[in-house]
């Protein structure tokens, strides 16, 4: 359901757990649908022995995709006008992530109403893995 202007105020927070104990299989699933088969995300032997990382890790875009689910559940389908993130830490198998959005501003443009959100996704230790912003159209 789209959000209604009269129910919103600056500082409102919405959050959702977007993955629990992230499996290597889900990372493989994301490789398959996105088409990004970089071995760093699924190939432990390559990743540890050739690339020199401690383990395979999730695509940044998987974390962004999961964060996007929180946003569309909050603002409604087809309502996002912008969504941008920085990938601030790698996400390893076993991660449990919580994504949250905070209303920074409520504004009117050409008779339509929008909210600007700051977006943050954190793991269970409180490490921020995604930091970003989004905007969405809301009902008057």
């Amino acid at each position: 359901m789209p959000l209604k202007l009269s129910d919103l105020k600056v500082g409102d927070v919405y959050s959702e757990e977007v993955c629990n104990n992230l499996s290597r299989t889900q990372i493989v699933q994301y490789a398959g649908t996105s088409g990004d088969y970089n071995p760093l995300h699924s190939d432990e032997i390559f990743t540890t022995q050739v690339a020199g990382y401690p383990s395979v890790f999730a695509h940044g875009m998987l974390s962004m995709g999961m964060t996007g689910r929180m946003l569309t559940n909050y603002v409604g389908d087809g309502r996002l006008t912008a969504f941008g993130v920085r990938f601030t830490a790698q996400v390893f198998p076993g991660a449990t992530l919580t994504a949250s959005a905070t209303i920074d501003a409520i504004r009117e443009e050409n008779g339509e109403h929008f909210i600007d959100l700051s977006v943050s996704t954190q793991d269970s230790e409180g490490v921020e893995v995604i930091k970003g912003q989004a905007s969405a159209r809301v009902d008057a």
């Binding site: 789209p2 977007v18 993955c19 889900q26 699933q29 994301y30 398959g32 649908t33 996105s34 088409g35 990004d36 088969y37 970089n38 071995p39 760093l40 190939d43 032997i45 390559f46 022995q49 050739v50 690339a51 020199g52 990382y53 401690p54 695509h59 940044g60 875009m61 998987l62 962004m64 995709g65 999961m66 996007g68 689910r69 946003l71 569309t72 559940n73 409604g76 389908d77 087809g78 309502r79 996002l80 006008t81 912008a82 969504f83 941008g84 993130v85 920085r86 990938f87 601030t88 830490a89 790698q90």
Partner: protein
Amino acid sequence: MAVDKFPIEAGHIMMFARSIGDANPIYYDEDYAKTTEPGGVVAPPTFVQASAQFDPDYFLRPKIGQEWFGSAKGPTGITPKEGGSSGGGSGGGLHAEQHYVYHKPLVAGDTLTATVKPGKSWEKEGRRGGKLMFSESVTEYRDLEGELVVTATSVGVRTERPATS
């Protein structure tokens, strides 16, 4: 990534939504989707990333008949060159930032084209990975009428050595 024809297919959307753990029926149930504001199956906000599937040259997909740098029997499938390095590599850097601007809903049945423009590039001294080299690219996704649907700005980073955060 530049793509001549990116068909927005309902089955692809369903599988993509599953892979990001999103059970919203608007991504797979046409009857439900008809009752929603967009009026049909739409793509999740990050779906255009999957245009990689339709880029014939996308370098992070194994190509038929070519060596693949991921492991096979050994840790990399690249045959070592005589006197050269052992092959492999980090897979072309990491994704640092991604930004989308949505101009209109992306609906199953649409066909998009994608054109890429290079953006800025800059360097920064990293805390753990040595020198960080950033570069930006801007991809415009347009429908068959030529109207902008999504603008995607991607920032990639290359590091001198593996950076674990």
